[in-house]
């Protein structure tokens, strides 16, 4: 080889080598000591072997203030590029805490937002691996502006490609808007932190004394704020869960999610369901068990499982098709829909609609939560998000009323005229506007008051109302319920409905979007 070629290639190799070493051996060791992988190890683990291609490894900031011109920051503290996950292309930006703490500056931001732009233009999912010490304050307004680039890129990509964030380290301050504005957030139990401000800033500004884990840890978001969809045990678990989640999703909003052979008979009958759901309306049961019997191989990928537990959402497959499940949970707060439960369901329904994932809705709901606390919190505003989401959605929607579906919640959980293509009911279902007690005491108030024996009159009228309306047949007579079904046939009936809905098309007049009650 010519001498000049040799030296040029050696220079390239040595420059690349320095970048590959990230923040150096000591910083890498410190990262490992915390139980974390480095950005490059994460990328290596995440993508199919040897498929990752890096973009912009040599990008460098242009700051000269505060000695920044003398500092080497490998890859500007964020590794960006693309590779294959189970054969499908995915773009990533992985922050490197070992290089100047993965701080977010102008060119870090440029790399990050350009990766999202490219994912959007190439119509492939985007995954961010967040692990950053926060804003690079040395770069002042350029750092602040960088947040705007990031937010703009991700919001303009929202609804076009699936986006998810893995909180593998800290993500605090303005940057923390980035994960929550993606479609899904996966947070590491011990090392992932997210918050609008860390404990020190909170202390100086408000006087509140709180530690990082309480303020920004997994409980803060998976249980309290409802922003973390999945809690992972460590980096590898988080990366594995992200891959699992991707398997349910299409590459972009013009594709269908991948249908696979699951080996579970689409027509399988399941008499076990009789045992799982008590016919007594006031007795609770665990809806998870029902979902597991209905879907392929009992495999249910639940999201937000520790937040608003009265509502269950998640992905599963039926006859190999990815579906979104929206179900009430009678085991928690009676399955009543409150503000948080409605928010949780509504955003999930809209995600499924954006990415062509059919919805299967399981009703067992006493109503929307009433009383001053929820009314003042805006249950009407929050509750109606479900109406907007279901009615606006054009994907196939199949509802099954297991036991009861009352009042506004019957509409909010998707009935025949709030978006469902099919509504099926079990023979024990009660579908009506209010319980018989309330109805009879209003309709027959005067009669009961003036009766010789008011208690007897009330009981008779309650029974009359119950016989007339607290069953699925009244709704079926009008066609609001398409069929009253044997519970054991539920899986077969949902699968047949999804078959016929496969090529469902909806045309509506143009509008920018509906004015959802945000």
């Amino acid at each position: 080889m010519e001498e000049e070629w040799k030296s040029k290639l050696e220079e390239l190799a040595s420059r690349r080598q320095r970048i590959q070493e990230m923040g150096g051996a000591a910083a890498v060791e410190a990262q490992h000591k915390e139980g974390k992988l480095t950005a490059r190890e994460r990328v290596e683990y995440f993508f199919d072997e040897g498929t990752f291609t890096e973009i912009g490894a040599f990008v460098k900031n242009r700051t000269t203030d505060f000695g920044m011109d003398k500092k080497e920051i490998a890859a500007e503290g964020v590794v960006t590029g693309y590779g294959r996950v189970n054969g499908r292309l995915v773009m990533t930006a992985a922050e490197d805490y070992t290089s100047m703490a993965g701080t977010f500056g102008e060119y870090h931001a440029k790399k990050f937002s350009k990766a999202i732009d490219m994912a959007k233009d190439m119509r492939i999912p985007f995954i961010s691996m967040n692990d950053s010490g926060g804003a690079r304050l040395q770069e002042g307004i350029d750092t602040l502006q960088g947040y705007a680039w990031l937010f703009q890129s991700q919001i303009l990509a929202s609804g076009i490609i699936p986006q998810m964030s893995l909180l593998l380290g800290p993500c605090l301050g303005g940057q923390a808007y980035h994960p929550v504005m993606q479609d899904f957030v996966i947070q590491c139990r011990k090392t992932g932190f997210m918050g609008i401000a860390g404990p020190a800033f909170v202390k100086t500004q408000t006087g509140e004394d709180i530690d990082l884990a309480s303020l920004c840890g997994w409980k803060a978001h998976a249980v309290k704020s409802g922003q973390t969809h999945i809690v992972a045990e460590d980096d590898k678990d988080a990366l594995g869960k992200a891959k699992e989640l991707l398997s349910f999703l299409p590459q972009n909003n013009t594709e269908r999610p991948p249908r696979i052979a699951t080996g579970d008979d689409a027509e399988r009958r399941d008499p076990e369901l009789y045992k799982l759901v008590p016919p007594g309306q006031s007795v609770a049961f665990d809806m998870h068990k029902v979902i597991e019997r209905l879907v392929d191989n009992g495999y249910f990928f639940e999201l937000l499982k520790d937040f608003a537990k009265n509502m269950i959402i998640g992905f599963a497959r039926m006859a190999g098709r990815p579906i979104g499940v929206v179900a009430n949970q009678p085991n928690w707060a009676g399955g009543v829909i409150d503000c948080d439960a409605a928010d949780k369901a509504a955003r999930f329904i809209r995600f499924c609609d954006l990415f062509n994932i059919p919805l299967v809705n399981l009703h067992d709901v006493p109503g929307y939560m009433i009383g001053s606390r929820e009314d003042w919190k805006g249950i009407l505003r929050h509750g109606s998000k479900m109406l907007f989401a279901f009615i606006d959605a054009t994907v196939p929607k199949v509802s099954v009323i297991l036991r009861k579906s009352y009042a506004g919640a019957y509409l909010g959980m998707c009935d025949k005229d709030t978006g469902a293509d099919f509504v099926f009911a079990w023979p024990i279902a009660r579908v009506t506007i209010v319980g018989a007690e309330s109805a009879a005491s209003v309709i027959f108030a005067r009669e009961i008051r003036t009766a010789e024996n008011p208690d007897e009159a009330r009981a008779a009228r309650i029974q009359e109302y119950r016989d007339r309306f607290e069953n699925p047949y009244k709704a079926a007579e009008r066609g609001y319920v398409d069929d009253v079904i044997d519970p054991a046939d539920t899986r077969r009936i949902i699968n047949r409905a999804l078959d016929v809905l496969e090529n469902k098309t909806v045309t509506r007049p143009w509008r920018k979007y509906s004015n959802i009650t945000l």
Partner: protein, 73 residues
């Protein structure tokens, strides 16, 4: 030892209390039953431990997020 405050998920009336102070309790065991919205709602222990304090009795009305029991674990 850590403390877990078990909160009521919703407003309602305490129908039954299934444990007493000092009892050992396993995660998932029922603590009490709240009647609300026509439903009997079980409140389950979120962790295994000892009931340090029981803050409710039958017929009492509780608000959402009221502490019904304190578990030491």
């Amino acid at each position: 030892m850590a403390i877990e405050n078990v909160e009521a998920p919703m407003v309602g009336k305490i129908l039954r209390v299934e444990v007493a102070a000092g009892n050992q309790i396993a995660e998932g065991d029922p603590i009490c039953v709240i009647e609300s919205m026509k439903m009997e709602n079980f409140i389950f222990a979120p962790v295994s431990g000892t009931i340090k304090e029981l803050k409710v009795a039958p017929h009492q009305v509780v608000q959402a997020y009221d502490v019904v029991a304190v578990i030491e674990y």
